[in-house]
């Protein structure tokens, strides 16, 4: 049945059609919809879970695989960094039921802190990687990947990129099996217990099977030569093939769908009829290096600067690479539209209160609160990777930094990889304050649940983790504050920061985008004198300045237009709140010096 599906939906479908029994994941743009789609379709024989982090997700998947069932584990590219420990050794143990890791890369960093190339992990582990050119191929590759995993006895990486994951195209889907056999574990210590004696044997096996892995790539239908006009042969990997073929129907292209190991025999065959080669792939020169290792001819790619090594390759670049004249466009400078926290975001209240207590050196983390970096709040001074905030702050303290050691991270981030940092800080006797922004969800990636919310991927109830009790058990002193009450929050923060030892402040208030829309609204009253403290301090998108001109005859201000800002001091200003956008948090009301913002 043909339907309009995104790359992520296509991967989910493919995995279900291939008969997975277990699917695990941690949310991460652009991968999150893979697990969401599986949880939504919900065949009764499939266990689909949000795991606490990617390492756990892959280990849970591995356990299921060792019991003989097929598993899909999905994550964003940096998630594989977290899952690297089990992944690398799974190349030695191999699998029982096929294991497919769907790792979604993000060239151009649309929503990531780096743009690492996951194919390098396949190289590092000596396994095979598939790279789809479009959503339909993503589904076909997923299905094939399970067979490959079992034939070769290795985990397989499937690497979509953002533009595959979040692009919709026509995909032909097949039937999902009615039932799948349950797991049954049978011991095989030599295979699964990686003590040195066993690991040495498995490593030799892995090395010995490399020619077999290469043979799969050579005969794979995802690599193919498409003949064309001209003596410059283009080797195009993954999505690059789609762009090139769309813009240049006549060029000779060797399409690569298995970049690791690259089908070097096929590449040699293609190169025979070419005077020179152009290798086009996104991010790192993974295919290019394998080609340069074997072929001695004129090769253009990233290593000679022909193709960019950073970012997403855009259509205009493909046009230029193929020899088209791309006109230079004169762009007029326009005001930026930076992303912002939503109206009513509880993080706004917490950061406003924190700003009054401490102005620099707050170690931040990854989530919606990272937007606190932007003006007017400007309260984040670092963002490295999940859970790093606590350890960065502690590290500065242990190195002798005298100003207050403060970190902040979200509830989901904390459960993902903050707990170990908290224990470490207590154990190593740091004097530091950890702020957990508990908004009851994993917001930035699309409001997925986690142990702190007590809800599972299919919305049924799961185990519930009490964050305050956990932090106390770790040895920290805990404050719980409501970020909508900025005064109480400021008081709690001051106490926590001046406390000797490890303090935890849990800023507890649900994200405004989950649950019911608030009926409470706020309105600016008559006494507003246009001081702009509200907009300048918290920058809520529901607030906007109005322009008034002074009518000299009447000696009174006259509203001349809504939503038009001005920096002209001869015009009186005031502020208006858009009732459609207002979330009723009341933070603006609590900070207005004229106390003129009222609940309606």
């Amino acid at each position: 049945m043909k339907d309009l599906l995104s790359g992520n939906e296509a991967v989910a479908h493919g995995a279900l059609e291939a008969g997975i029994k277990v699917a695990t994941a941690y949310p991460g743009t652009p991968s999150s919809e893979i697990l969401e789609t599986i949880a939504e379709i919900k065949p009764p024989h499939v266990h689909a879970e949000w795991s606490v982090n990617e390492k756990v997700a892959l280990e849970v998947a591995a356990g299921a695989s060792f019991g003989g069932v097929r598993v899909l584990c999905s994550m964003k590219h940096v998630g594989l960094n977290v899952a690297a420990d089990p992944f690398m050794t799974m190349a030695y143990t191999g699998v029982r039921g096929g294991v497919v890791l769907a790792v979604c890369d993000d060239p151009g960093m649309h929503s990531s802190q780096n743009e690492q190339d996951s194919r390098n992990f396949a190289l590092a582990a000596n396994v095979l990687c598939l790279e789809p050119a479009d959503p339909a191929e993503a589904r076909e590759m997923t299905i094939e990947a399970f067979d490959l995993s079992e034939r070769l006895d290795i985990p397989i990486i499937l690497k979509p990129v953002t533009r595959i994951s979040h692009t919709k195209g026509l995909v032909d889907t097949g039937d999902i099996p009615d039932r799948v056999e349950s797991a049954r574990f049978s011991p095989d210590k030599g295979k699964l217990v990686m003590v040195p004696g066993n690991a040495r044997v498995r490593h030799l096996d892995l090395i010995a099977k490399q020619p077999m892995i290469l043979e799969e790539s050579e005969k794979s239908r995802f690599n193919r030569i498409e003949e064309g006009k001209g003596k410059m042969g283009i080797i195009a990997c993954g999505i690059c093939y789609s762009y090139l073929r769309d813009h240049f129907p006549d060029l000779p292209i060797l399409k690569i769908g298995v970049p690791v190991p690259a089908p070097i025999g096929l590449i040699e065959k293609f190169a025979e009829s070419c005077d020179e080669l152009l290798i086009v792939e996104e991010l790192e020169p993974v295919v290019e290096r394998q080609v340069r290792e074997r072929l001695c001819m004129e090769i253009h790619g990233k290593m000679d600067g022909t193709v960019q090594r950073h970012g997403e390759i855009l259509p205009e670049t493909y046009q230029k690479l193929g020899g088209l004249d791309v006109p230079e466009v004169q762009r007029v400078s326009l005001p930026q539209r930076p992303p912002n926290m939503c109206p009513g975001c509880p993080h706004r209240g917490l950061m406003y209160a924190l700003k009054k207590v401490n102005r620099k050196g707050v170690m931040g983390d990854i989530g919606c609160y990272t937007l606190g970096l932007l003006p007017p709040l400007g309260m984040i001074d670092s963002c490295l990777c999940m859970g790093a905030s606590i350890n960065l702050a502690t590290g500065l303290y242990q190195a002798g930094e005298k100003t207050d050691s403060i970190s902040l991270l979200g509830d989901s981030t904390f459960v993902h990889s903050g707990i170990t940092g908290l224990i470490n800080s207590v154990y190593n006797r740091a004097n530091t304050t950890v702020i957990i922004l508990d908004n009851g969800t994993t917001a930035m990636t699309g409001f997925q649940p986690h142990p702190g919310t007590g809800e599972l991927a299919d919305s049924s109830p799961g185990g519930h983790l009490d964050l305050a009790k956990l932090c106390e058990a770790c040895g920290a002193k805990v404050w719980v504050v409501d970020p909508y009450d900025t005064r109480e929050t400021e008081k709690g923060l001051r106490e926590a920061i001046s406390h000797e030892g490890v303090s935890v402040v849990i800023s507890k208030r649900n994200c405004t985008l989950i649950g019911q829309r608030s009926r409470v609204k706020y309105q600016v009253g008559e006494d507003c004198n246009g001081c702009m403290l509200c907009i300048d301090s918290i920058g809520c998108p529901a607030m906007m300045p109005l322009r008034f001109t002074f009518n000299k005859a009447e000696m009174a201000p006259v509203k001349t237009g809504a939503r038009q800002a001005t920096t002209n001091p001869s015009q009186i200003r005031a502020v208006e709140i858009d009732p459609l956008l207002c979330a009723g948090c009341g933070i603006c009301s609590s900070i207005c010096p004229k106390r003129t913002i009222q609940r309606v």
């Binding site: 533009r163 979040h166 919709k168 195209g169 259509p315 539209r337 800002a565 920096t567």
Partner: protein, 180 residues
Amino acid sequence: MLAGDILSRSAIMQGLDVKKAETHGMAQRGGSVVTHLRIGNKVRSALVPVGGADILISFEVLEALRYSHYVRPGGSIFYSSRRVDPLPVLRGLEEYPSSETINGIWEGFKDVLEIDAPDLARKAGHPLTQNVVMIGAASTRLPLPADSLRKSIEVSVKRAKDANLKAFDLGREAAISLRR
């Protein structure tokens, strides 16, 4: 994204191939949200090259200006008169472009229509039908028959189907009368 779905479904009903790239996550928190849509007999990739768009549909004025360079000189631009100033402008840190600047941008194109989508949406019966008003206007240049688009709206829209269909017609009529 709903607009993109409506157009995609209509194209598929006409037996055409489609690729649609959407913006997700961080980019959505009040930032600029763009959808690229390519329709044809065989379409492999989704992103439209700069200077390659036949049609630009924008639901806000500033964003229309921001993406205008994607449109080819003979292409069409449909934008809603709705204005949502970004935070730096509201705070007085950046200036909203002047009328001269704005007219200068529009002058490079032959077919630019401003549609009062908020007003037409209200007339249609629901303020949230603004996007469908814009599809109605764009239907005067899309390679998709109006009836196919109407059918697609019925399938794609979950609530207020009648209001949405009316919004489509009002948008379409507005574009036709503006060109007379």
